[in-house]
């Protein structure tokens, strides 16, 4: 193939992508505007009434499922493209040599956009440290990356509006920044496993200087949708189904008695309950929505959500390969304290 024909074929590919994205965007907007009508219609067709508990639960399910899937697909596609601009290597280069403070803020912010999978938490962790990123700054990244992610934010936005999403974003970043600062101040470098400390002695960073075309970026967006939405949809449907059950059958204000804002022990209980649970934001948020509808306090529920996502037992087991128990415990303790504070603050302010 000559150079000219390669160029033509990649241009026609780009045109295909742009046309496809335009059509998909229009279809998306139309579908999103018809959500209530769709749920009403479906409940009607089934011969049910929203006055009955079952009908109301079903309406919740038929309204929320397409809404969440639409929101998720859209945002995951966009984030898939955004992430092609932020490889872990680039983030590391941006962070290396940064001091405490500025570094923590930057690390927590980059955690939102840098592609991250908890299965590569250890190589990433060590890769950061070996490039001269301070331990506390590395932790800011490691806390923010799973907790403040696009899936959580878009779902919060869809369910509760932009104010709650913005608060979650701000407070999530704050927890990551402060927890990283605290861990940095504690000077816990010697609590890294011995083999990690040896590696840190000498290490050359490998530059991944690839430039991607827009077609490749779009393809990455598509692949991201396939990967994330393909993985989380069963959790979402299960979460919405559970949420629908709560919505239809649990009496109003039922949750207020033990998850309301007057119950002082509710926040710590929610955090403790969240640690052994492991799901992603997608599965937990529909449940959160239903709980709030029944009188649970927002702060308590958000603390629960942060705890489920940020403090998961499987991730700690993975990190245990590189961190000694003291450091793991400190990490968990500092983050849990941060989440507690967030929960109480939310309950007081709202």
């Amino acid at each position: 193939m000559s150079a000219v024909s390669i160029e033509t074929s990649s241009r026609s590919k780009l045109v295909h992508w742009l046309a496809g994205i335009s059509v998909a965007t229009v279809a998306w907007v139309v579908a999103y505007s018809q959500l209530t009508a769709f749920a009403d219609w479906l409940v009607d067709v089934l011969g049910l009434s929203r006055q009955t508990r079952f009908g109301e639960a079903l309406h919740f399910f038929f309204y929320d499922s397409p809404k969440v899937v639409l929101l998720l697909t859209g945002i995951v596609f966009v984030m898939g493209i955004v992430q092609t601009f932020f490889s872990p290597e680039r983030t590391r280069a941006l962070l290396s040599g940064k001091r405490q403070g500025v570094g923590n803020v930057l690390a927590a912010s980059l955690g939102i956009v840098t592609p991250f999978c908890s299965c590569s938490a250890v190589p990433l962790f060590i890769g950061f440290l070996s490039a001269g990123v301070p331990l506390g700054v590395t932790f800011s990244f490691l806390i923010s990356a799973p907790m403040v992610n696009e899936v959580a934010l878009v779902l919060l936005f869809g369910m509760f509006g932009w104010k709650v999403a913005a608060l979650y974003l701000g407070l999530g970043l704050l927890v990551a920044i402060i927890a990283g600062l605290v861990i940095g101040q504690l000077k816990m470098e010697r609590h890294l496993e011995d083999w990690v400390q040896k590696i840190l002695g000498g290490q050359a960073a490998h530059p991944a200087g690839e430039t991607l075309s827009w077609v490749e970026r779009f393809e990455a967006g598509g692949a991201h949708v396939k990967e994330i939405v393909g993985k989380v949809w069963p959790y979402i449907l299960a979460g919405i189904a559970l949420g629908a059950g709560i919505h239809g059958y649990v009496p109003e204000d039922f949750m207020a008695s033990f998850m309301g804002r007057d119950v002082w022990w509710a926040v710590p209980a929610a955090v403790a309950l969240g640690v052994p649970m492991y799901t992603n934001a997608a599965g937990i948020i529909p449940i959160v929505e239903a709980l709030i509808g029944k009188g649970a306090a927002l702060g308590t529920v958000l603390a629960f959500m942060m705890s489920v996502i940020a403090l998961s037992a499987p991730e700690m087991i993975i990190l245990r390969k590189a961190l000694k128990p003291t450091l793991i415990a400190t990490f968990a303790g500092v983050v849990a304290t941060g989440i507690l504070v967030v929960g109480y603050v939310f309950n007081m302010v709202l």
Partner: protein, 76 residues
């Protein structure tokens, strides 16, 4: 003979990467050896921070996520 190593700690993406690399290499009829590297310090030794990574004849050619088919084809 190409010496291929796939770096990763056994997540689904790593298995997909291995299958893809193997399929493409066979398709192209290039003689190759395939090794799976799961040892964490060995992975980090290559400077790879996000798995799965692919090493061909000692050089890191890919890191982070399953590589696209066209990218894999360009290696052979």
């Amino acid at each position: 003979m190409k010496e291929i190593k796939v770096l990763g700690t056994g997540c689904a993406n790593c298995r997909n990467t291995i299958a893809l690399v193997e399929a493409v290499a066979k398709e192209k009829g290039v003689p190759f050896s395939l090794e799976k590297v799961e040892d964490m310090s060995a992975i980090i030794g290559y400077g790879v921070m996000s798995t799965p990574g692919v090493v061909i004849d000692g050089a890191v050619v890919h890191a982070g996520g399953v590589p696209s088919r066209s990218k894999v084809e360009s290696w052979f």
